[in-house]
């Protein structure tokens, strides 16, 4: 039952104060996030193109995409790309975090240089990778050739399978530091007495990781993975630079395909529809993330209550 009580003058002052403080941020977000989002929904049911104002055509754009072979390939690629890159980043990031956690000398400088791929503009480092993958002058091939691993020319960005693999490798290279540094921060909060207890119980190195580190890191890991999944799923730059979606449209992600249709070809409405196709998945991830964070908080609250 609601009971309306008199709002005091002091409360009203507080509300007004809050409103004033929030208005610049909300104004920006309403104009440049909410409005474009609604506009995007509206665009996706039109047939707007550059130089053609567009009229309402219902869900035709989405039906068209459903039957579009390239779009289906794009959806597959995006899922594969996200899954493979995230697993790689989590695995490598965890290893690096565990190693860094044991380092005593040069800790700061090593950690700072580890983060470099994450700091440097992605397109610029992607260009360096493109040069490293160059079919005729590839330094990667030089390595492999001189180590005796291969004698053939490997065209890293040539075939559809290999080029997607290459893009996944570069994504893992760029995103791994983010995992490593965040997981390292998580590792440092683990109480060392737990490891001492595990040692007394005769736990092996692997058991210490599996029964102490991994479960205690779980909250941090979950949040980092969800963040990274969103970023990777919506990635644009790496594919745009490295393959441009090619060869023969075989390595597109949702974002690059949306760009190709909406901007490069000028079919604004269809492009907006491709972008929006990301929405259901992103929505699920965000809902899951919010649910997980809330649950964590509830668990924490309960632990607090028990301690009292």
């Amino acid at each position: 039952m609601f009971r309306y009580r008199e709002v005091t003058k002091r409360e009203r002052q507080e509300w007004f104060f809050a409103f004033c403080l929030l208005s610049p941020a909300l104004l920006m977000l309403l104009i440049f996030v909410l409005y474009p989002f609604l506009d995007g929904l509206w665009l996706s049911v039109l047939d707007k193109e550059v130089g053609h104002p567009g009229k309402f055509i219902g869900l035709k754009n989405f039906f068209k995409l459903w039957n579009d072979q390239i779009f289906r390939r794009t959806a597959q690629n995006t899922v594969l790309y996200t899954a493979a890159a995230t697993i790689l980043k989590l695995g490598l990031g965890m290893i690096v975090a565990l190693l860094l956690n044991q380092l005593i000398k040069f800790k700061r400088i090593v950690r700072a240089s580890m983060l470099l791929p994450w700091i440097v503009p992605t397109v610029l480092s992607a260009l360096a990778w493109k040069w490293m993958f160059d079919p005729t002058f590839s330094v990667v091939n030089f390595f492999l050739y001189n180590l005796g691993i291969t004698t053939k020319q490997i065209s890293w960005l040539g075939g559809p399978v290999l080029s997607l693999t290459s893009v996944i490798i570069v994504n893992a290279w760029r995103g791994m530091p983010f995992f490593a540094i965040t997981l390292l921060a998580g590792l440092q909060t683990i109480n060392p007495t737990l490891y001492e207890a595990a040692d007394i119980d005769g736990a092996s190195g692997w058991q210490r990781f599996w029964y102490v580190t991994w479960p205690l890191l779980m909250p941090v890991t979950m949040v980092v993975v969800l963040f990274s999944v969103i970023m990777t799923f919506a990635d644009f730059q790496l594919v745009y630079i490295l393959t441009g979606g090619g060869p023969a449209n075989s390595t597109h992600l949702f974002a690059t395909y949306a760009y190709q249709i909406g901007i490069a070809t000028g079919k604004i409405s269809e492009g907006a529809a491709v972008s929006l196709a990301m929405f259901p998945f992103l929505f699920l991830i965000v809902v899951f993330q919010l649910w997980y964070i809330r649950r964590e908080e509830e668990v924490k609250e309960e632990v607090k209550k028990k301690k009292r």
Partner: protein, 285 residues
């Protein structure tokens, strides 16, 4: 004695060698960027399987690529554009984020909880979801091909981040400090500006550094909203203006990549701790 020796070897095998290998892999692309930027063209284009060829050093380093970059292209202009856009959008975002973060963390009003959640959701919206309609909006405001197109749109991903980070920071500052100030006769606003904001400077610095690097590195909006070469930012300028047709001038491209990376890396090196705390704080909140 032998125990100590074997322990040291264990450390070498299980720590230094793997870490060294991974670090080499992490840093190699930057090394390659640097080597290529200073290598003369006739040395640059030698096939990888040519015998007795060592690509890791260059015997006759040259400045021709850098000279080309700074004299023949608009690179200086792009650096200036990128810097101004990054500074202004960071300033706008910090201003909005400070006020909004304080309001959500400290002021009592009915919608504080849900609003915090909404800010978090906005923070998770990737730019690639909105870029086509946002392009229409920018064109609608007649901002296309001006720096304002970027200065006003970068805050869309910076404000949620700044607000979220600063909100978390404000919560760590004891409430009693402001209350004392108010008892001593300061107004609400004065307590906020004079007492809380100065205490939040480390948080503001973290958010600012992070926001600055994010806007320096932004690519998609800059690619779409800006069309004339004069107005471009470094990432877009290097990618679009230094590639002529299908010909890649790798020396100049790598010089551009190097020069576009050095400023952020430089700033970052001074504020590593702030950057890391922003990175981890952004996730945990």
């Amino acid at each position: 004695m032998s125990l100590i020796v074997s322990r040291r070897w264990k450390r070498v095998f299980y720590l230094y060698i793997p870490l060294g290998t991974i670090l080499t892999g992490t840093l190699f692309p930057f090394y390659w960027m640097g080597v290529t930027a200073f290598r003369p063209d006739q040395e640059l284009y030698i096939p990888w399987n040519k015998p007795k060829f060592n690509p890791f050093l260059t015997l006759r380093p040259t400045l021709e690529h850098l000279a080309f970059l700074f004299q023949e292209t608009l690179f200086k202009r792009w650096l200036f554009n990128t810097l101004m856009i990054a500074l202004l959008s960071t300033a706008i975002s910090l201003f909005c984020g400070l006020l909004a973060g304080y309001a959500i963390a400290r002021v009592r009003f009915p919608l504080a909880g849900p609003l915090g959640t909404w800010i978090f959701i906005t923070y998770l919206v990737p730019p690639t979801l909105l870029f086509i309609p946002l392009g229409e909006v920018v064109r609608g405001f007649r901002l296309g091909d001006t720096p304002w197109a970027l200065i006003l749109t970068y805050p869309t991903f910076l404000i949620p981040f700044c607000t979220w980070l600063l909100m978390g920071y404000f919560r760590t500052i004891p409430k009693e400090l402001e209350e004392c100030a108010q008892i001593d006769g300061a107004s609400r606003l004065q307590a906020m500006v004079r007492i809380v904001f100065p205490l939040a400077i480390p948080g503001i610095l973290s958010a600012g550094i992070f926001a600055f690097t994010l806007s320096w590195n932004e690519f998609l909006y800059a690619l779409i909203f800006i069309s004339s070469a004069q107005q471009k930012t470094v990432p877009v300028g290097v990618v679009s203006e230094l590639v002529r047709g299908d010909t890649f001038f790798w020396g100049a491209l790598m010089a551009g990549a190097l020069m576009g990376s050095v400023p952020v890396a430089f700033i970052y090196s001074f504020f590593v701790e702030h950057y890391v705390s922003a990175l981890t704080g952004a996730v945990k909140g």
